[in-house]
């Protein structure tokens, strides 16, 4: 791909040098263009080079006749349709990976949304009281290390239905860092702000919205950011039991029908989506907590 792009841009550059010379204004805009192009290149080129090298190593490593994994070229040959058309619909169970990602995102939205609300409230409650902190913190520290898959049988037994259990698995995976970070943020509220609230006689609800949330916002959002990453990690575990059309179930299904190249494409979809989710929450956090950062 990149080789083709280079060949295309080369001939017009020759023409440009002949015409642009006498005008200082265009020279300046040319400079600006060159700067932004070189800035873009500095940001995009290194990861592209690394990617290319990794793909090459992969290609060489699994080219042998007894290789267990498909090579990149084989992935492209067998599963290029999944990459090129994320939004095809051939039947209720045979749809593009874009649709599957969206289905999974909806599930994550429920689980993570519940975890965000419950986690912030719990964290606020625990952060407010040293006694509660002492009581709950060790338990949270133990529970947060339980892997998502381990919650599966418990939630199935509790809910006796796959849909709520899947959402519960996402919820329980994402909630711990949200609680722990919110509690830390609430504990870090300066005494000065508490004094102001006391003099104004703010009640609990006013204190929560006007002092606690804005003051702890940077902590809360770092918790939410870790939480959204974890909840996306839990999607495969969650969808192994729900079935349906999610990206997590797609992997499970592809494994059962030994379509390894499809799994590799799905992994890329999951990775890119997780990256976008992480950046999205980070961006919302930086917008919301602007001002408190100083």
């Amino acid at each position: 791909m990149s080789v083709v792009a280079l060949k295309k841009t080369a001939p017009p550059a020759k023409q440009a040098t002949a015409e642009v010379l006498p005008l200082p204004v265009t020279a300046r805009s040319g400079q600006w263009l060159r700067k932004s192009v070189s800035g873009f290149g500095a940001a995009v080129l290194p990861p592209l080079v690394v990617l290319f090298v990794l793909l090459a190593i992969w290609q060489i490593a699994f080219s042998g006749p007894n290789a267990g994994l498909p090579t990149p070229t084989k992935v492209w040959a067998e599963s290029s349709e999944l990459i090129l058309d994320p939004f095809f619909v051939y039947g209720s169970q045979d749809i593009g990976l874009g649709w599957r990602v969206l289905t999974s995102l909806e599930r994550v939205a429920y689980g993570f949304g519940l975890a965000a609300v419950a986690g912030v409230l719990m964290g606020a409650l625990i952060g407010q009281s040293a006694l509660m902190m002492r009581g709950f913190d060790p338990i949270f520290q133990v529970l947060r290390t339980v892997p998502p898959l381990a919650w599966l049988p418990i939630s199935l037994a509790a809910f006796m239905d796959s849909r709520p259990s899947a959402i519960f698995v996402i919820f329980i995976t994402a909630i711990w860092p949200i609680i722990i970070n919110t509690a830390a943020g609430v504990r870090a509220i300066p005494q000065d702000y508490r004094n102001v609230a006391a003099v104004l006689r703010l009640n609990q609800i006013e204190f929560f919205w006007k002092i606690m949330v804005p003051s702890a916002a940077p902590y809360i959002f770092s918790g939410l950011r870790i939480g959204v990453g974890l909840s996306w990690l839990a999607i495969v575990a969650a969808e192994m039991l729900t079935g349906g059309v999610g990206i997590g179930f797609f992997i499970w299904d592809a494994w059962n029908s030994s379509r390894l190249t499809d799994i590799i494409v799905a992994l890329i979809y999951i990775g890119v989506t997780g990256f976008v989710l992480d950046r999205l929450v980070g961006w919302i956090g930086s917008v919301v907590s602007r001002g408190t950062a100083t």
Binding site: N195, A198, V199, L200
Partner: protein, 269 residues
Amino acid sequence: MTMAPTKYLHIDRVCKSFTNGSKVTEVLSDIRLTIDKGEFVSIIGHSGCGKSTLLNLIAGLTDVTTGALKLEGREVNAPGPERAVVFQNHSLLPWLSVYDNVKLAVTKVFSSTKSRAERHDWIMQNLDLVQMTHAADKRPGEISGGMRQRVGIARALSMEPKVLLLDEPFGALDALTRAHLQDAVMDIHARLGNTMIMITHDVDEAVLLADRIVMMTNGPAATIGEVLDVAIPRPRDRIALASHPDYVRARESVLRFLYERHRFVEAAE
């Protein structure tokens, strides 16, 4: 009992001790002080003598251990807007604009008695009192330390407090800014006639602003060592005062108290 009407703020045999495990530290011992309505009282003492603790007791932010604290005959046992505090480090909320910081107080105190438009006028009036209307939309991080302290004063005044408590409000400011703010406080006191109690460690500030100077002995178990009346007529002008015999005498007796009779001994324990 016949003196009851004049006892506006009455501090009666107040002691304060902090308990840390089995160790009890007495910080303030047997504080007796009566402050009249409209009076400006400065509390001065070496650092660590418990003057900020005394202010917190009056504010209700800390509970007294023994004794009683009464404002207009009613016992003080919780913080409230009728005893507004101007904090040492301004304590403005950094995520709110100057206007919204004052608005938070005004909305809370006057939500039932003033209409929205009246509250807006009241906020602007208080910002005008400290000459900060020009920065109403700025955030605390965008204005200078002196300006932040002005906004802190406006916020406290906007609660229409019975007693305004100032906890070393100008301690962190440079000398010129401090002088400006002292003038602003004197001007506000003259216009509104508030009862004000100010903690300070600056002798000139105490003499310039106060009707009475309360001098604290060194801790632990600090108490009021001496109370000095400053009978200099108002309005006071800092330049004319510099050579005023009453000013010089008052300044001298505070200095004598602080540096001769109750010299600060560091690491006394």
